[in-house]
């Protein structure tokens, strides 16, 4: 039986900080960066008031934040950090270290654009830059999802079949700084759900000394990468299992994708993050006008849910598809999500007209009009009309 939950007015940052408090990690190392800063203010407040047992390391850079998290996770601790945009970029080198060492660390990521020009607002270029660094990537639509995903992330990361770090993204400002109703779990529920961490040859087992972070020459490096690929494939299953387990607690199921009104949809947009919410609203509105539209929201970006996505598209009546990317792949065809969608379909021998749509860079608003414009492009594509390979939405021309 699902109990009535307490709904609180929280920003994304507050929700994430609350998840961290309830998870009560052993070590949190973080460096302030807009728009993540206030998440760490809230958490620091928990530390200062004895509401967590966490060792909070106020490091001098994001690079050191993740470096300390790597040290702590290898030591056997449950370790977390939080960052945004350029902070994640500064961590980049250590992202691969964490995943290569198979450490179950978790980053609460507030998605922010990368410089230059400097911009503090939300887009996915930070996360997409990190997409191939061996981290599991979960993307949240709203504050409650960020909260839920962070709690699940701990369990996913520490699963013996996975042992990979996880980053959980939410759009900077749009989610991180907006107040919404967030339904909270009870402290005991969260603690029971995440459980006590499992240690895999912890560095601090001084009775059994281990060497972490060895150098692997060309005779074994590739084998370790193959192991990581296997772990990612396992993660695909584990994320689903953890989602099901979480559903028993939450009454809301988290899957790799969320197909919204796609069953009979002729035009489908693929969206990730906060814009998915706006897109759902637009779908409802357009359906009132009798238009057969739907969206697919991507929640798991790594491992990418090729099967789920292709299944959902194949099961629909799609005539054409639009892929909305909140990041660029300069010199590529369209955005990173576009490439993944093409791969998902091509490898299933399914071919649909696909339109590339770039939106929301540097926090540029993506409202109802822009989603409708995106559907217009998809419709044109379906009708065989000429559309540019990539359409920038809400661009001043």
């Amino acid at each position: 039986m699902i109990e009535e939950r307490k709904v609180v007015p929280y920003s994304g940052n507050m929700a994430a900080a609350e998840a961290l408090r309830q998870i009560n990690p052993d070590v949190v190392a973080a460096y302030p960066i807009t728009p993540q800063t206030e998440m760490m203010h809230f958490f620091a407040d928990f530390v200062a008031n004895g509401l967590v047992d966490t060792e909070f390391i106020t490091v001098e850079s994001e690079h050191s934040a993740l470096s300390a998290v790597v040290g702590a996770a290898a030591a056997g601790a449950r370790a977390m950090t939080a960052t945004a945009g350029p902070g994640l970029a500064l961590m980049w080198e250590i992202l691969g270290v964490a995943s290569g060492m198979r450490l179950p660390a978790v980053i609460a990521l507030v998605n922010r654009a990368l410089s230059s020009p400097i911009n503090i607002h939300g887009d996915h270029s930070d996360m997409m830059g990190a997409r191939d660094q061996g981290w599991i990537i979960l993307v949240s639509e709203n504050a409650e999802e960020e909260y839920d995903n962070l709690i699940q992330a701990v369990k996913i990361a520490e699963d013996e079949r996975v042992r990979l770090p996880v980053m959980v993204g939410m759009d900077g400002f749009i989610i991180s700084h907006s107040i919404e109703g967030v339904s909270l779990l009870k402290d005991e529920e969260v603690r029971e759900f995440v459980g006590k961490q499992r240690m895999f040859h912890p560095l601090l087992d001084v009775e059994h000394p281990t060497t972490h972070g060895a150098i692997a020459m060309s005779d074994s490096y590739m084998e370790f990468k193959r192991q990581q690929r296997e772990a990612m494939m396992n993660a695909y299953k584990v994320i689903r299992e953890v989602g099901e387990e979480f559903a028993a607690l939450r009454g809301k199921k988290y899957e790799h994708i969320e197909a919204y009104k796609t069953e009979d949809a002729e035009y489908i947009l693929i969206v990730m993050g906060s814009a998915a919410g706006t897109a759902k609203y637009v779908v409802d509105r357009m359906r009132e006008r009798g238009e057969k539209v739907g969206i697919i929201k991507i929640r798991t970006f790594r491992p990418f849910p090729y099967y789920d996505l292709a299944d959902a598209i194949v099961a629909s009546n799609a005539k054409a598809i639009g892929v909305m990317d909140r990041a660029e792949t300069f010199g590529g065809y369209s955005g990173p999500l576009f490439e993944e969608v093409c791969t998902a379909l091509y490898t299933r021998n399914k071919f649909y007209p696909i339109a590339g749509l770039i939106y929301g860079l540097g926090g540029r608003d993506c409202n109802i009009n822009h989603i409708e414009e995106a559907f217009d492009v998809v419709k044109k594509k379906a009708a065989g009309e000429e559309v540019p390979p990539v359409t920038y939405l809400n661009l001043q021309v």
Partner: protein, 188 residues
């Protein structure tokens, strides 16, 4: 769904007022959002903040383009920012000014729409000696928009938000300012 846009200057507490509004609505079991439109500006620069309040879940995550209500916290913004942008003739304007709604209508040549005014600056100065017009403006807003949130919910939220951070005196001054504006706001 009701959509609100706040106009203020950085440091005047409009973001906080907008948060309190969303917060109070959520406490009442409604669905609400509060989203500030942050720039790189600092205290003093014009800023906007948005609210959505609804009986049904809100999934929209974008700026409010067509506000049903516009709240102007700082009267000096009346002529400098496009406060009517995106509003329909049915929109409601709640303005901090010492003028009457008619005077504002004539001064800014506003057609249609419903105008309410309240001297929030005076209330703020009288109640706490500082130009924090956000809470009084919230009081006025609650009064003029029926069924948005109740004054009691807002009071509860102000206590929860400020209770730990400010002195008892300041908290009470805020509550007085809220109620005064609630009473003193005038419509045409």
């Amino acid at each position: 769904m009701i959509e609100i846009r706040w106009h203020a200057r950085g440091g005047q507490g409009a973001v906080t007022a907008s948060k309190i509004l969303a917060s109070s609505a959520i406490r009442e079991g409604k669905y609400a959002q509060s989203a500030p439109d942050y720039g790189a500006e600092r205290a003093g620069a014009p800023l906007r903040s948005f609210n959505r309040v609804s009986e049904k879940p809100i999934t929209l995550h974008c700026l409010v383009l067509h506000p049903d209500i516009v709240v102007v916290v700082d009267p000096t913004l009346l002529k400098t920012v496009p406060i009517l942008e995106g509003t329909s003739e049915n929109a409601v304007l709640v303005i901090n000014t010492d003028k009457t709604p008619e005077e504002i209508r004539n001064m800014l040549d506003i057609k249609d729409r419903k105008i309410y005014t309240v001297n929030a600056s005076a209330i703020a100065m009288e109640e706490f000696g500082k130009p924090f017009m956000n809470v009084p403006m919230l009081g006025a807003l609650v009064k003029v928009i029926e069924n948005l949130v109740s004054l009691d919910s807002v009071k509860e939220d102000i206590k929860a938000t400020f209770g730990k951070k400010v002195s008892k005196e300041l908290l009470e001054a805020n509550l007085r300012a809220l109620e005064r504006a609630y009473r003193e706001v005038k419509g045409e």
